[in-house]
Symmetry: C2
Subunit: 144 residues, 2 copies
């Protein structure tokens, strides 16, 4: 069940006339391969391993590009750095281990209690949760 989104993303980019640089393709591949959202720093490390040594500026600019193109989503667990995952993934949530930082994907089901029970059965010991809703407040809806 671990389908790859790589080919589709690359095709779309080519169709839209964007260049397929080594770094661009490698970043998509790493995000596709990764089982958890990656930080800019982690990406730089993975690219270095592959023999590519892009400057951090380029990686940040590539991330900005991919956010614009809605290829990736930015997320932030309360670390100092942002993390990124492919936008093609179905909407889901995360369970994060407070000790080792391991991140597990969680399907978005309706009830909070429900999800916590499910995690319990998987032996993940939930100690808290964080829920945020994003959108437009009343006054910001009017002025748009």
């Amino acid at each position: 069940m671990k389908r790859s989104f790589y080919d589709g993303i690359i095709r779309d980019l080519k169709d839209q006339g964007f260049r397929l640089t080594k770094v661009r393709m490698a970043i998509i591949e790493e995000l596709d391969r990764a089982k958890k959202p990656l930080s800019a720093g982690e990406l730089i490390g993975l690219l270095k391993k592959r023999g590519l040594g892009p400057h951090k500026t380029s990686v940040y600019r590539e991330i900005a590009f991919m956010l614009e193109q809605e290829i990736i989503n930015r997320l932030s667990f309360g670390e100092r750095q942002d993390r990124f995952e492919l936008a093609a993934l179905e909407h889901h949530h995360h369970a994060i281990c407070k000790v080792c930082g391991e991140i597990e994907d969680i399907a978005c089901s309706e009830g909070i209690r429900q999800i916590e029970e499910m995690l319990g059965k998987q032996k993940f010991k939930v100690s808290g949760h964080l829920i945020e809703f994003f959108g437009l407040c009343t006054s910001c809806q009017q002025s748009s």
Copy 2:
């Protein structure tokens, strides 16, 4: 229904033998008065308005102290800065306006859909949500 936590917190600190400095008391008062979680920068601004001009280092150290004493909780919406609110507040969640940054407290009820409907009635237009569960993964439970 806007009860104050100030007196209780101050009493506890005194009982435990901590010093009641001007800045310490002012920070608690500002967090108590604020209707939304405050960042370190916002706190520094509020203190300046009151005639206190503490160095940012002192404010950060005070925040660290209050986290240790569990007087405040750290939270982070995907901004670059952290935010803090009184730990004495009942567990709840937040609705954040993507335009003006306004933050509204949301009671922690069971269903996600339920909360979104409630926000809709209050004219807050939800465009997305973020849910994270924190705890211990299987292997980190064993090694503790």
